[in-house]
Subunit: 133 residues, 2 copies
DNA sequence: TATCAAAAGATAATAATTATCCTTTAAGTA
DNA sequence: TACTTAAAGGATAATTATTATCTTTTGATA
């Protein structure tokens, strides 16, 4: 079990029980939207306020402790910040997976054809996962 | 000037003046969010309802006449449906441009490593555009 | 030009998110 | 270990975004 207390503090975020629980949910689930996160959190903290969820998600985003993933035809989900990666989303079961892809060639195409200097990329591939095929 | 009356009808959408104006705004601006679209529309139709904007945007999405583009740190924008393409977004000036990129290699990587069958891709590259460099 | 389903406009209702205010607490310091 | 205080949590009001409802108007077809 990872000690997220220190990781939160490294991001200058106080390690409150609520934040540790949010972190635990994100770690366990990988990707989760606000509504589902709230449902899971309320089981551990029966009186947690939805405002606490929003305030923490926004603060964690500002501190780059977590990241938002915008998906087609779905609510945004949140994940713990990790190495740069893309996402594959199954249109049948809705599962979301991280995937490490080499986008250097693509980014080269862009810099050549458009004189555009890419600093970050957001790629979501939609399709059918191995379980649904 | 393209005749969008027939194109709307091909998508089984009645060609109302409001829809033709929305189409014109999308054609002229390329990408626009709800708020900006409403501001532009109200200049032509001083009494247009915001509900009409939402209803038409949603209907046009359902009929694949337009598409939503989800951007990092910004509201979604909408564009007329065209050939498959990606987007480059300038983090300095906010400009959004279409770009045709060959993602076949990347999609191949996915199918090999994850047995995932990709049917569509959403790629947004953020960075610095030629004007801001 | 008459008919009618569909669309527009006005606005109420709902959903999503943020702000406010008071109480509690994490974390540094004596 | 207790003290201090800025920050965080909880409750809830306020705001913003989106959708639903209902009545009037209109595009498209006969």
């Amino acid at each position: 079990m990872i000690n997220y207390t220190n990781i939160l503090r490294e991001h200058t975020l106080k390690a409150t029980p609520q934040r540790l629980a949010i972190t635990d949910v994100l770690y366990t689930n990988g990707h989760i939207n606000i509504e589902s996160l709230y449902e899971k959190m309320i089981k551990k903290f029966t009186s947690i306020s939805l405002a606490t969820i929003y305030k923490n998600i926004n603060l964690m985003l500002e501190h780059s402790f977590i990241q938002e993933v915008k998906l087609p035809n779905a609510k945004s989900v949140y994940e713990l910040t990790k190495e740069t990666h893309s996402h594959i989303v199954c249109t049948t079961c809705g599962s979301i997976e991280d995937i490490s892809l080499d986008l250097n060639k693509v980014i080269m195409q862009v810099s050549e054809s458009n004189a555009f200097h890419t600093t970050s990329s957001d790629l979501v591939l939609s399709g059918i996962c191995i379980h649904c095929k």
